[in-house]
Amino acid sequence: MTRIGILAIQGDIEAHAAASERVGGCTVRVLREKDLDGIDALILPGGESTTIAKGLARLGLYEPLRQFAATGRPLLGTCAGAILLSREVENHPVETLGLLDAVAARNAYGTQVDSFAALSDAGSEAPFRDLRCTFIRAPQLRDLGPDVQVLARVEGRPVLVRQRRVLAATFHPELGEGPSPVHRLLLALADEAAGPA
């Protein structure tokens, strides 16, 4: 069974565990470098990016996470997680992993009263078309590099992107009851990275 690690410093860890299990993965919490051994994919959950960034620094996890990515195993970051994957943050900077060639703008839609849900644009890639996306004090991803592919947009803005085996969503595919196509893709990428069984 595909083992999905979830960075467990702060955030909606439980929602990601439930979403991963709904698409057939099993999950482990990651707080230490050694927790990265034996996992097939890693999720950076939603939460507060400053809180999670400070935890990463205290636990000395920035370099081990970059090495994890270098082994070709996939990562998924949602909301705060997407910010941490980006190459830089244009406002209220936090230290990032630089695994996604994009600039993150934090709280780009406003405060919580501006949070919203919307369907993804019809022009999005197949399983991510007309997908209901929930944005909570969400960031935006800008200045995407040439290797970054946009999988879904809302109102023309990229909300789900992929750079090889790094996935970033500015919304929360882990919330809601149904099987999440984003987590399904993460599992598929993990199986692809593990090679033929």
Binding site: Q10, G47, T111, Q112, F116
Partner: protein
Amino acid sequence: MSDGSSGQARTTAEAFEIKVGLAEMLKGGVIMDVTTPEQAKIAEDAGAAAVMALERVPADIRRDGGVARMSAVSVIEAIQKTVSIPVMAKVRIGHVVEARLLEALGVDFIDESEVLTPADDENHVWKHDFRSPFVCGARNLGEALRRIAEGAAMIRTKGEAGSGNIVEAVRHLRSVCGEMRAVQAMREEELMAKAKELQAPIELVRHVHEHGKLPVPNFAAGGVATPADAALCRELGAEAVFVGSGIFKSDDPENRARAIVRANTHWDDPAEILAASRGLARPMEGIEMGTLEERDKLANRGW
């Protein structure tokens, strides 16, 4: 910011999901009471997941007496300008207009709080009418479910705010979580009688029966003063922790704030809590519950 320009019209169910969404994002975090932008910065730098903007921390409200109201708008705005993490603020129980002011300010979460002097001694705010999410205090499962029925997107224990004593938060956590375990174990035909006993809607009692938990996140508050207090709340089932007076009424707020954040992340790892607790200056003074008159207990406010 709150004119809805970037948001579409929301159905009630969708609105509730978006409100609970922010509560989900705060899980595993520490929410700290702050009274100035400088304190807010200290909290953010220590790794707080959110701050609660206040004029006075609960220990000072308790000491000074008088009517405690919503904070001055200028205090909240200054704190909003200082930090990038969510900013919460308190309204008096039942004070719908104070709540509208906070919503117009674009506050991220409204705490309808027993720490302030109640504005209505029978009714709480009808929270479904707001775009802003609300958190409310509860001592037991019935109170928690009544607040959720009114639209609360997060429940926290009341504990005894400003006391520096964790015993009431423990009592409330044990009560809420224990009653949920009991409801989960019941037979279906027993749920209506239980709803009657709890004075809570049957649909919410049924949700607890099926899922073994509240339909919204369940946090702890009231009396947290040490890293071990925060970890104890997590041990007993709280999904995140509010710290009121415990940080800025201690002798070394920066280090204590960092230590409580660390203990909260590693609540089930004694070695980490030990490391977090080492070398801290004195915590806030505490109050023994037996010395508090029943009428001075803030937890008795709200119904």
